[in-house]
């Protein structure tokens, strides 16, 4: 009995400290995972009551999921998301690694460059996207003018974002420039942790700069690459703001499974559209499928990276 007292006191103290965090965590992070699933089994009648949107729910079983299977827009959004990931992830990794290798030299202004490349990372993604919309805009946009100046024509009418072929790569380019500083910082700290003697040993073994990169640096920064791939995948699945600000999912000039699709409509934006149209049950089902895809991709990534290199 006596012993239990102290254990009990320790428990009460611990939970008192944990309480604020735990309550919010359980309500807003743990419960939603379950609630989302419950919601996905229901049809929520829109416009019943603006202040109690979820008052009229009807259980429909797996109907939302079955509908999802036949929804060409959903499948298209997954393809776009995948394409977006392929456009951004390698670019960010390569650019980040290159910058890190460059900055790992004794140069004047290294710390200035480091800050300059990292700065865009912390800035508001919506604002950055708006600025790029301006830069990419048709006729007078500075990017289009630059292209014309170097002799590439044909973007004048629609700009970069109005053209279904260049819209998503355009967005990806802007996001690579915004995000590669993050990879750079990670690579830089990893490279600086590689002992100098490893490179000296490679020198003595007769490796040139390229061979040192391939056989020494890259294998040693492998965990960073894995991390960036996983992060990049998750952020592609989360991509929303840049699409919202730059194209709203358009331009609508692509045909897929007999329907017109938005060239930049990633799954995150499609999910948002369903939410905005008050199809909450359906949106919840999309969320759940996206969650499962995320988990699978994370697992596969981890497997592949462990085997290779």
């Amino acid at each position: 009995m006596k012993i239990k007292n102290r254990v009990l006191r320790e428990n009460i103290n611990s939970y008192l400290f944990l309480l604020p965090f735990l309550v919010i965590f359980l309500i807003f992070l743990a419960y939603p995972v379950i609630y989302s699933f419950i919601l996905s089994l229901h049809r929520v009648t829109p416009y019943t009551d603006l202040y109690n949107v979820f008052s009229d729910m009807k259980f429909v079983g797996l109907k939302n999921y079955l509908k999802l299977l036949n929804d060409s827009k959903f499948w298209w959004s997954l393809i776009v998301t995948f394409y977006y990931a392929i456009l951004t992830i390698p670019g960010m990794i390569i650019l980040g690694l290159l910058l890190a290798i460059f900055l790992n030299n004794k140069l004047p202004g290294v710390s200035f460059f480091r800050s300059a490349y990292f700065l865009p990372n912390v800035l508001d993604i919506l604002v950055v996207s708006l600025i790029w919309t301006l830069i990419y805009s048709p006729h007078f946009g500075v990017f289009v003018r630059f292209l014309e100046w170097i002799g590439i024509k044909g973007f004048s009418e629609k700009g970069i974002l109005g053209n279904p072929r260049t819209a998503l790569p355009g967005i990806a380019f802007a996001m690579i420039l915004k995000g590669s500083g993050f990879g750079m910082i990670l690579f830089l700290s990893a490279i600086q942790n590689i002992p100098h003697s490893v490179y000296e040993a490679a020198d003595i073994d007769g490796a040139n700069a390229w061979q040192k990169l391939i056989y020494v640096t890259i294998p040693l920064v492998k965990p960073i690459i894995l991390f960036l791939v996983i992060m990049g995948t998750i952020s592609s699945l989360n991509a929303f703001t840049e699409i919202y600000a730059m194209t709203q999912g358009g331009p609508y000039e692509v045909y897929f499974l007999g329907e017109i699709q938005g060239a930049t409509k990633v799954s995150g934006f499609y999910l948002f559209e369903n939410w905005a149209q008050m199809r909450y049950g359906y949106a919840a089902a999309i969320s759940y499928v996206l969650l499962i895809i995320t988990l699978i991709i994370s697992l596969i990534n981890a497997r592949i990276m462990r085997r290779k290199f």
Binding site: E10, N13, S14, F17, L18, P20, F21, I24, F25, F28, L29, A30, Y31, P32, V33, Y35, L39, Y51, N52, V53, F54, L99, F102, L103, L107, S115, A116, Y117, F118, L119, P120, V122, L123, D124, I125, L126, V127, L130, I131, L134, I135, F140, A174, L177, I185, L186, I230, I234, L237, N238, A245, L271, F272, W275, Y280, A283, S287, L290, L291, L295
Partner: protein, 280 residues
């Protein structure tokens, strides 16, 4: 021989320096462009010259006090949301991190595991259920609706737990013998010794709340008085598609404070973001 090598080394560095400079110009170009456009007269945004609006702050003033889009108000809202969110997050994460680092309690491992697994859930997935919960709580168009759902930062908790674990147990034992209560130990020993990490968590959360466009869009109806900068910007653009100089002036209100904050407290941002990656 030595000379030749030195010259080659020097040329290599010059080339690197030039490449990095060009790269920096490209990366930072959008922000200079934003400022450049923000200083142009309305309607003259696409005339590439150096004639600017007079006085130079005219555009900033116009959007700051705009009647239908009061960016001054939006700025204040953003500040309130980001500051309160960051304060609460830093506090709750420190308290939780302390307990996870230094105490034993029932279900500790289980809770830890649950928290760890929510890190895998993509944020987008939370939009619908969190919106449902916030609606039921009646928190639409409120500060708490914007702030509280994101206050339980598992990342922040782990960061602090990791740090607090390095504080020697003997300090806590010593404080106990000195007569400190649990709360006094936390406040007078743990918090002062974790201040750099708490600052990191504060700044990262501030940044997160400042730029959390989607959630702020979701919990606010367009006529809300609690609109933040990014949501205000998005709505403004929806109405005045072509007023680029005003839009860019309003954008500066979001960009410039964060850029300054970053330059002042760069160390904390970089350490926090790298720490998360090394753990993962």
């Amino acid at each position: 021989m030595i000379n030749e090598r030195r010259i080659r080394e020097f040329i290599k560095r010059v080339i690197l320096f030039i490449i990095l400079s060009i790269g920096a110009i490209i990366v930072l170009f959008p922000f200079f462009w934003m400022l450049y456009i923000a200083l142009k007269s309305p309607g003259k945004e696409f005339v590439l010259d150096f004639s600017f609006v007079k006085p130079f702050y005219a555009n900033f003033l116009r959007v700051w006090k705009n009647e239908s889009f009061p960016f001054g108000r939006f700025f204040l809202n953003s500040l309130i949301v980001a500051t309160s969110g960051a304060t609460l997050t830093a506090l709750f994460c420190s308290m939780g991190g302390y307990v996870f680092a230094k105490k034993n309690f029932y279900l500790k491992e289980f809770l830890f595991w649950i928290m760890l697994s929510t890190l895998m859930v993509p944020g987008m997935m939370y939009m619908v259920p969190q919106f449902a919960i916030v609606t039921k709580l009646g928190w639409i168009n409120t500060y708490k609706g914007m702030v509280i759902p994101h206050v339980a930062s598992v990342f922040g908790l782990f960061l602090l737990r990791q740090h607090i674990e390095t504080i020697p147990d003997s300090l806590i034992s010593s404080a106990k013998i000195d007569g400190a209560s649990e709360w006094q130990i936390f406040r007078t020993i743990i918090v002062p010794l974790s201040l750099p990490v708490i600052t990191t968590v504060f700044l990262l959360t501030f940044l997160f709340q400042w730029t959390n466009f989607l959630w702020q869009l979701v919990v606010n109806t367009p006529e809300s008085m609690k609109l933040t900068l990014p949501v205000g910007l998005a709505l403004f653009r929806g109405q005045y598609q072509t007023q680029w100089c005003l839009l860019m002036a309003a954008s500066s209100f979001s960009i410039i404070p964060i850029a300054i904050l970053f330059l002042i407290a760069q160390r904390f941002f970089i350490e926090g973001l790298t720490a998360g990656a090394i753990k993962g």
